[in-house]
Symmetry: C2
Subunit: 334 residues, 2 copies
């Protein structure tokens, strides 16, 4: 155990793309847990598009990270010391430990003992899997035979969304930013088709791949991609508005989406954030664990080593450099 | 009975605002009903924002009016001749008779005999009342104590929406385009407040009048008005997307609406068109007739005389020149 805790501090609210100096990597002493507290060593740090939102002081679903505070992030960690009888050293837990090597907490969620790789709990069995599951099934409500479009199809959420939609008997069309990603989601994840929106005209390609129109859109991209999808929606289509990553680095007046067809087709756009579904996580975990054990759902993780690389790794989400769940491996698995 | 039928023909699809020559007033012989048909004399013609949509060849919820065809419009009419045993001369019916003095039809919907003024069947007891009723209650689902915002509050639909929301125990804030309209919806229709969006900064005024945020938005305006509302929505807000009249005369690339807050607040935007509710009209008519007889709902009609004035009257909807339901009186009531 090194006697230092490297942590990323938010120094300045980014404007547009994150610039050097917006966050700073500092070294602090390893914190000491107080009475009833535990000391956690971070093993994996989750990087997610929503991290960019937390850095802004815009109106959002949680308070933004304060200037001078450790950057917020989901973590999988090992209990190193415990002053709490509910935890013992060596326990593996998940929580919001932040962008740092060590964190002190009053508690955290213990992981079940199972043969599943730890990275699964940070992806398909964790928040991104739950986001795919509840967003698609609860908000999108796909029916067998319907056409489901998934943007950011090679991402952590999109890849799972498409596979669940296939399990439900839908035609599934992914949108991704490279031919390699498109091949992956079709060949490996079983999507019916995938459009490289950077190479093709999306409006034309959606006509070709969704000849019967679009019934459900699981939206991770927003912006022009969402506009092209809205042009092709069917009567009573459901748009699960889960993310709009294409807009998170926007500066100036935000670009809107044209709602004309939402009116004409009596469609529904519904915002969705996984925190509303925390009470129902066990229901998701049970079904997803079953699908995993049956080999019916696959998942990808993209692991970058070292807390010092967290900030540059986050950029992969915005440039399309990752496939599957993006994680930073902060220390060795126990 | 004059031996001529004046009718408005769509000659050219308007680009932006309707221009002289886009529609032409022509005179044809009065049509002769065939076997099983009836001849209808138009008494009232309904003018609605959606008329502008029907003139365009955009993707919409009904086929657009064809070039060379009589302009489509809802009508209240008297049966003049009948070759159908289900109708007799003097019967009063409603239907889609179009922008003309006479029409031949296979049938039409008979009006109940009652003491209610005929104009009520073209407004509060007709399609605009039904739009207000089902849009607010079925899509908006307002709960007592919630705040409901209604754009085009002095319009045919908006005025009824606000009164129903008051009956349901909501705080109701209207948006209208003049101080006179605002006074009317507060004093006469019982809204809690009304904002003249042409005089005030809407964002600031919504903060003042909706101190607890917005739970339901009944959207008739779209554009910048909708954006200002979306800035102030509460968690799980419902936006009933009933119309976007501010966009109907747009040319070039349409202006979009910023959906960031729909995501952050897990809100729902749902398109709504009354034709989906035709099977449930009796349920509406029964409850609305009761409210009317109890004096709990008021309604306004703005009547313009003469079929020749239909086109210039339509413009009132876009300039804000009418209060309540806009009708053309084409011939005398029987």
């Amino acid at each position: 155990m090194r006697n230092a805790n490297r942590q990323w501090i938010l120094r300045r609210r980014p404007v547009g793309e994150i610039k050097p100096g917006d966050l700073e990597l500092v070294e602090q002493p390893i914190p000491v847990p107080g009475p009833g507290q535990i000391l956690l060593r971070t093993v994996y740090l989750s990087l997610d598009p929503t991290n960019r939102i937390w850095m802004s002081d815009m109106d959002q679903y949680m308070p933004p990270v304060g200037l001078g505070e450790v950057m917020r992030g989901g973590t999988l960690a090992v209990v190193e010391q415990s002053n709490n009888p509910a935890y013992k050293p060596g326990d593996i837990v998940s929580g919001i430990g932040g962008w740092q090597e060590y964190a002190v907490a009053d508690g955290a969620m213990p992981l079940p003992k199972s043969g599943v790789p730890l990275t699964a709990y940070m992806s398909v069995l964790g928040m991104t899997g739950a986001t795919a599951y509840f967003g698609l099934l609860d908000i999108g409500k796909p029916k067998a035979g319907e056409t489901v479009v998934v943007s950011a199809a090679a991402g952590a959420v999109g890849g799972v969304v498409g596979q669940i939609a296939k399990l439900k008997g839908c035609r599934v069309v992914g949108l991704a930013g490279s031919d390699e990603k498109c091949r992956h989601v079709v060949k490996d994840l079983g999507f019916d088709a995938c459009i490289n929106y950077r190479r093709e005209n999306l409006t034309e390609a959606l006509k070709r791949e969704c000849p019967g129109g679009i019934d459900v859109d699981f939206e991770n991209a927003g912006g022009a991609i969402l506009d092209a999808v809205l042009e092709r929606i069917n009567l009573k289509a459901r748009i699960v508005l889960c993310g709009m990553i294409s807009t998170y680095n926007e500066t100036g007046a935000p670009r809107g989406n044209v709602l004309t067809n939402v009116l004409m087709k009596r469609a529904r756009i519904e915002g969705f954030i996984i925190i509303d579904y925390f009470p129902r996580l066990p229901e998701f975990q049970a079904e997803m664990a079953k699908w995993l054990s049956e080999g019916r759902i696959k998942y990808d993780v993209h692991v970058v080593g070292g807390i010092e690389n967290a900030l540059s790794a986050l950029d992969l989400l915005f440039t399309g450099g990752n496939t599957g769940k993006l994680l930073v491996k902060v220390s060795d698995e126990p």
